[in-house]
C-alpha cells in the first residue's frame, strides 16, 4: 500500500483498502481501461472527427442540457419534497417517503414506457397538457421529465438528512434576531443545505447524462433534436463501429468523472473546514 495515511490505531486499513481497490479495479477500472484503450486505437484526428461531429455535439447539448435542466428541476422540487417530508406531519407521509426510492427500483425501461403512456397526447396527463399546447412525449420536454424521475431520489435523499441535521438552533437564532422565515430560509437554511443539495444535483445530473432505457421510449429520437448521446452510442454499436462508440463513451466518461471529482473535492474541502471548526 503506497498510500500515505495519517496514523490510526484502528486495524484493517490494509485489508479493506486492498480489497476495495482490488474490487474496484476488477469491476470498474480494468473494463473502463478497455474502453480507453479501444479509443486509443484510433488516430487523434479520427477521434476528434467522431466526438466533434455535428450530430454528436447536438446530442451532447441535449443530453447534458436535459440532464442539467432535470437536475435543476429536481433541486427545486426535490428540495420542496424533502422539506415537506422532514418538516410537516400529514397523513401518508411515511408512505410517500418510502415511494421516493421507487425510481431506483423501477426498471428504467418500465419507467420510460409508463411515462410515455402517461404523457403521450392520448395519455391522461398528456391530454391535459396538450389542451394548453404543451407536448411532452417525443419532445425534449419528455426527456427532461424522464430524467427528472430518474434523478429525483438522488436529490431528495441527499437533502433529507441535511435538513434533519440543520441545527434547530440556527433557525431559532435567526428568528430571535428578527429574521422573517423567508429571510432565514435564504440566508441560513439554504447555505447550510447547499452542499447536500449540490451532491444530489450532481448525482442526478450524472445519472441523467448516461440514462438510456427510459429516455428512448419517451424521446422522439430524431437526430439533432431528440437524440441523446447514449442512443448515438447504441447507433454506433449497431454499425459495428466499436471505436466510435468507445470514443463517445470516453468523452461522456471524462466529463462525468471530472464533474464527480470536483464535487467530491469540494465536499472534502468543506468537511475539512467543518472539522477544523470542531477543534
Amino acid at each position: 500500500m503506497n498510500a500515505v495515511r495519517a496514523p490510526s490505531i484502528l486495524p484493517g486499513f490494509g485489508m479493506t483498502l486492498g480489497f476495495s481497490t482490488f474490487f474496484l479495479c476488477a469491476i470498474v477500472l480494468i473494463p473502463l481501461a478497455a474502453l480507453v484503450m479501444r479509443t486509443a486505437t484510433m488516430g487523434w484526428e479520427e477521434f476528434l472527427a467522431i466526438v466533434l461531429d455535428e450530430r454528436a455535439v447536438a446530442s451532447y447539448r441535449l443530453s447534458f442540457g436535459a440532464a442539467l435542466l432535470a437536475a435543476f428541476i429536481n433541486s427545486v422540487f426535490g428540495f420542496v419534497v424533502a422539506w415537506t417530508l422532514v418538516r410537516y406531519e400529514f397523513p401518508g407521509r411515511k408512505l410517500i417517503d418510502a415511494f421516493i426510492d421507487m425510481p431506483f427500483a423501477l426498471p428504467t425501461a418500465v419507467s420510460g414506457i409508463a411515462l410515455t403512456a402517461v404523457f403521450a397526447e392520448n395519455g391522461p396527463l398528456g391530454q391535459l397538457l396538450a389542451a394548453y399546447g404543451i407536448r411532452v412525449a417525443y419532445t425534449w420536454v419528455g426527456i427532461v421529465v424522464a430524467l427528472t424521475l430518474i434523478g429525483l431520489p438522488f436529490v431528495v435523499r441527499s437533502v433529507q438528512p441535511a435538513l434533519l441535521e440543520v441545527q434547530r438552533d440556527l433557525e431559532d437564532a435567526a428568528e430571535t434576531l428578527g429574521a422573517g422565515r423567508f429571510y432565514t430560509f435564504r440566508r441560513i437554511i439554504l447555505p447550510t443545505v447547499l452542499p447536500a443539495l449540490l451532491t444530489g444535483f450532481t448525482m442526478a445530473f450524472a445519472r441523467g447524462v448516461g440514462e438510456y432505457g427510459s429516455v428512448i421510449f419517451i424521446a422522439g429520437n430524431l437526430p439533432f433534436e431528440t437524440e441523446i448521446t447514449p442512443l448515438l452510442i447504441v447507433i454506433k454499436l449497431e454499425e459495428f463501429d466499436y471505436a466510435g462508440a468507445a470514443a463517445l463513451g470516453f468523452i461522456m466518461l471524462v466529463i462525468s468523472f471530472v464533474m464527480l471529482l470536483s464535487i467530491n473535492l469540494l465536499q472534502a474541502w468543506g468537511r475539512r473546514r467543518m472539522v477544523a471548526a470542531g477543534r
Binding site: 498510500a3 500515505v4 495515511r5 490510526s8 484502528l10 484493517g12 486499513f13 479493506t16 483498502l17 480489497f19 476495495s20 474490487f23 474496484l24 470498474v28 473494463p31 473502463l32 474502453l35 422540487f77 420542496v80 419534497v81 415537506t84 410537516y88 406531519e89 411515511k94 410517500i96 417517503d97 415511494f99 426510492d101 421507487m102 431506483f104 423501477l106 426498471p107 428504467t108 425501461a109 418500465v110 414506457i113 409508463a114 411515462l115 403512456a117 402517461v118 424521475l149 435523499r157 433529507q160 438528512p161 434533519l164 441535521e165 448525482m203 450524472a206 448516461g210 440514462e211 438510456y212 447514449p230 452510442i233 454499436l237 462508440a245 463513451g249 466518461l253 464527480l260 471529482l261 473535492l265
Partner: protein, 290 residues
C-alpha cells in the same frame, strides 16, 4: 434515510407563538400540495399506469402471466443475479466505507469518485466495456472461448454488468454515515483489547446496520431493475438470459401489455415490499436514521 421529524419537534413547532397563523398554515398547505402534485405527476402516475395496465384484463390474466415458463425463468434469473451481486457489493461497500471513513490517506477523493463513477457511466457503456473485454473480439475473448468459458451472453456477464451498475449504492450509503459517527467507539473497543473483526461486528455493525440495510435495499432494487447494461451483455436468449426488465421489454414488444406490466408490477412490488419491511423495522426499533 426515511427519517422523519420527531413528534416532539413538530409539536413544538406547531405551538410556537406566531406559528399557527394563516400565513404559516397556507405555507404548509402549499408545500404539501406542491410536493404531492409533483410526485403525483412524476412518480405516482407512471406507477398507477403500470398497475392499471397489468390489471386491465382482470386479476386472473394478471396472475396467469406469472405461470409462463419464460417469465418464471426470468424471475429466477433476476433473483439469482441479485443473490450473487448484493452480497458481493455489500462486502465491498463495507470494506470501502471502512477504509474511507476510518482513515485519512492520500487519494481518498479519487477513490470516492471512482466508487461514484458507475452511477455516472451510461448503462450502455457499462455493458459495452464488458463486451470489449470478454467478447470474442475482446481482450480475453479468444482465450475464454478456447477454454469454453462463457461470460457475456451468459449468467456471469449479467452478474458482472449488474455488479458494475450497483457497485456504488452500499458504499455511498455507508461512507457519510460512518464519517459522521466517528471513530471514538471503535478506538475504545481496540484499547479494550478487541480485535478488528470483533470491533467491527460488535461495535461498528450495530451502529450502521440501518444505513447498511438501506444501502442493501437500494442495491438490491437496482440490481433487479437494471436494464441498459444487462441488455447489452445478455444475448436476449428467451428463458435463459433474459432478466425481468428484459422480459418486460420482450413482452411489451409482443403486444402482451398485461404480461409486460405484470412483470413490471412484480418488480415494483418487490421494491415496495423491501421498503415496507425497512419502515416496519425502523418503527419497531424506534430507530431514526441520522
Amino acid at each position: 434515510m426515511a427519517g422523519g421529524p420527531s413528534k416532539a419537534l413538530l409539536a413544538e413547532l406547531a405551538t410556537r407563538p406566531g406559528r399557527d397563523t394563516l400565513a404559516s398554515t397556507a405555507t404548509k398547505g402549499a408545500f404539501i400540495a406542491v410536493s404531492l402534485l409533483f410526485l403525483a405527476a412524476l412518480l405516482f402516475a407512471p406507477l398507477v399506469m403500470v398497475f392499471a395496465t397489468a390489471l386491465s384484463k382482470g386479476v386472473l390474466p394478471y396472475l396467469q402471466s406469472f405461470q409462463d415458463a419464460d417469465t418464471v425463468a426470468a424471475i429466477r434469473l433476476t433473483l439469482v443475479t441479485a443473490a450473487i451481486v448484493v452480497p458481493l457489493n455489500t462486502v465491498f461497500g463495507i470494506a470501502a466505507a471502512w477504509a474511507i471513513a476510518k482513515f485519512e490517506f492520500r487519494g481518498k477523493s479519487v477513490l470516492i469518485t471512482l466508487i461514484d463513477l458507475p452511477i455516472a457511466v451510461s448503462p450502455v457503456i457499462a455493458g459495452l466495456i464488458y463486451v470489449l473485454l470478454f467478447g470474442i473480439q475482446g481482450w480475453f475473448g479468444l482465450w475464454l472461448q478456447e477454454h469454453n468459458f462463457s461470460i457475456i451472453f451468459a449468467l456471469p456477464g449479467i452478474v458482472i454488468a449488474t455488479l458494475f451498475v450497483t457497485l456504488p449504492y452500499v458504499a455511498r450509503e455507508l461512507i457519510p454515515l460512518m464519517q459522521q459517527l466517528g471513530n471514538d467507539e471503535e478506538e475504545a473497543a481496540i484499547t479494550l483489547g478487541a480485535g478488528g473483526l470483533m470491533t467491527f461486528f460488535r461495535v461498528t455493525l450495530p451502529k450502521i446496520r440501518w444505513g447498511l440495510v438501506y444501502g442493501v435495499i437500494l442495491c438490491n432494487a437496482r440490481a433487479m431493475g437494471e436494464f441498459g447494461a444487462v441488455s447489452v451483455v445478455s444475448g436476449h436468449i428467451r428463458g435463459l438470459t433474459t432478466t425481468m426488465p428484459l422480459h418486460v421489454e420482450i413482452l411489451y414488444n409482443e403486444y402482451n401489455f398485461v404480461g409486460a406490466f405484470a412483470v413490471a408490477s412484480l418488480l415494483t412490488l418487490l421494491a415496495v415490499l423491501t421498503l415496507v419491511i425497512k419502515t416496519l423495522v425502523e418503527w419497531r426499533t424506534g430507530y431514526r436514521k441520522r
